[in-house]
Every structure is written in structure tokens, then in C-alpha cells.
Symmetry: C2
Subunit: 135 residues, 2 copies
DNA sequence: CTTGACCTTCCAGCAACTGGAAGCGGCATA
DNA sequence: TATGCCGCTTCCAGTTGCTGGAAGGTCAAG
């Protein structure tokens, strides 16, 4: 199975697959012509990575998850801990974005949006003394 | 006013201020010794930028906002349009994160988190056929 | 005169790819 | 056999918005 097929099967762009190899997330064999040759196991790894990335895990977390996945003597507690920390990050990020959203929505609501120059949005940007919370 | 004072006054790291100058967001004068010399107007610009960045506007959007701010004949509609587009981006991002959060929370809840290897989180990563929505 | 806190420039690196150039491999067609 | 085209290869550069660090100049205090 060459990279094009592996790409179609995993949903990852060929460029991304080459990048993942470069950073050591997988090591596909090579054919005589130098083409990468993906075994089912490699494609499975790629699909695993695609899914973990889609859930927002970082590359390094994906590396750890993959190692845990392939370690039959893993403890599910290790996986859970990783996922919980990620969940907390997501929650913090959502809270930050909701705070931004609230501030911004208030400013937008107050802006006439016409041809005159008066604009509470610019006024706020220019004059606000405090920030909108941790970023 | 040198860069250290401008940094303290605006809340932006000196490194960031130098970077903003490099990409043309401001052009502080120079003293005879080569040190940057920040006029009140420059510090004001920096504070404006800090606030706009904290609200999540991109550097290019900040450049536009700054130009609008300093253009007395601006139309508030232009500012509002920019802010509304940003608001939509934030909303999309929040929705994405909430979808992730829901999926991940479900997986975490199902994981025993003990010393045994069985783990629904890894199982999902390995087997899920569909993704979690647009990213 | 030295110390230490500033300041300067420039180069490298972060995350996680993405785009593009230059050049093979392999198959079909003229 | 020549030609075309697609897919594969590597390598380099760029993205966003900084951040760290090296090497060195400046300035006020002791």
C-alpha cells in the first residue's frame, strides 16, 4: 500500500503522513523503488493518530497514547489521566472564549455600524484599562 | 520613554514590542544612542494592540483596527463588520470545542482508570469510524 | 574601573503542518 | 521508442505570533 492509498484509508494528507514519519510516529517499510509501503498496522496507526488529533490531543500526547495503545500491560489510569488533563485544557479554553465572546458581543451590540466614525468598539480598545482575563 | 518603560506601561513584553515594530505596527523614534524612544502616542498604540490581541483579533486585524482608529473619517460599519466576523469565528470555535468536550467527557467517564489495560478511550481512538465534526 | 541593568541586533525555535520545486518510477498511448 | 501524465521522492521555505539566547553597546552607581 503506497502513501496515496494510506492517505485515502486514514483520511490524513500524504504530506502529514510523511511528517509523522519524520517525527517518528511511524516507520513504514520501503519498496525497492524507494516508495513507502504501508502495512495494515501502519494504516491503523494513522487512523488512530487522525482520531486522536481530531480530539485535540497534541502530537506528543498522541505519541504517548499510541505507546499506551501498543503496550498490552498499560494501566487504563495512565490513559485516563492524560484525557482528563486534556479535558481540563478544553474547559479552560472554552471559558476563555466565552469570556471573549461576551465582551466582544457587548461591543458589537453597541456599535451603530453606519457611515459615521463614532464607534464604541474602537473606544473600548483605546481606553479599556483592564484585560479580559487569562489567555 | 525607553522600551522597558513602554513595556511596563502597555503590559506587552519588550520582545513583543520589538516584533511589532519589525512588522510595521509602530515606528518609535530613536535616541542618539540607538535606543527606541516611545512617545505617548506610541504607548497608546501599544495598549490598543494589547487589548485587541487579548480580544483574539489577529495581527492583521489589529493592523486594520489601528488604521481605522487613526482614520477620523472611518465608518463604524467597517469596524463592526470586522468584529462580527471575529465573533462568528469565536462562536464556531466554541462549538467545536464543546463537541470535543462532549466526546472526550463520555470516553473519560467510561474509563475505569485503574491498573488494568482495558480502556474505552484507546478503544475509541482505535476504532471510531467517523470523526467529531469540522475542525 | 568595574559591576550590573539596561539596551541593541540577529539567529533559532516552538506547533503542526502546508506549498512548491526538482527530479525519479511506472504505465498507457501514439 | 517517445511522450505524457500521475504519483512518488526529498528538501526548503513559509505559516502565526511570538520567545529565548548569544554577542555586544550604553549608562548610572559605587
Amino acid at each position: 500500500m503506497n502513501i496515496g492509498e494510506a492517505s485515502a484509508a486514514s483520511g490524513l494528507p500524504a504530506k502529514t503522513i510523511r511528517y509523522y514519519e519524520e517525527i517518528g510516529l511511524l516507520r513504514p517499510a520501503r519498496d525497492g523503488n524507494g516508495y513507502r509501503s504501508f502495512a495494515p498496522r501502519d494504516v491503523h496507526r494513522l487512523a488512530f493518530l487522525a482520531r486522536a488529533r481530531a480530539l485535540g490531543f497534541s502530537i506528543e500526547e498522541c505519541r504517548t497514547l499510541l505507546a499506551l495503545y501498543e503496550d498490552d500491560s498499560r494501566a487504563s489510569a495512565d490513559v485516563k489521566r492524560l484525557a482528563e488533563r486534556h479535558l481540563e485544557r478544553i474547559d479552560r479554553r472554552i471559558a476563555e472564549l466565552q469570556a471573549l465572546r461576551a465582551t466582544l458581543a457587548g461591543l458589537v451590540a453597541g456599535c451603530a455600524g453606519d457611515r459615521r466614525p463614532d464607534c464604541p468598539i474602537l473606544k473600548d480598545l483605546a481606553e479599556a484599562g483592564q484585560d479580559v482575563g487569562p489567555s
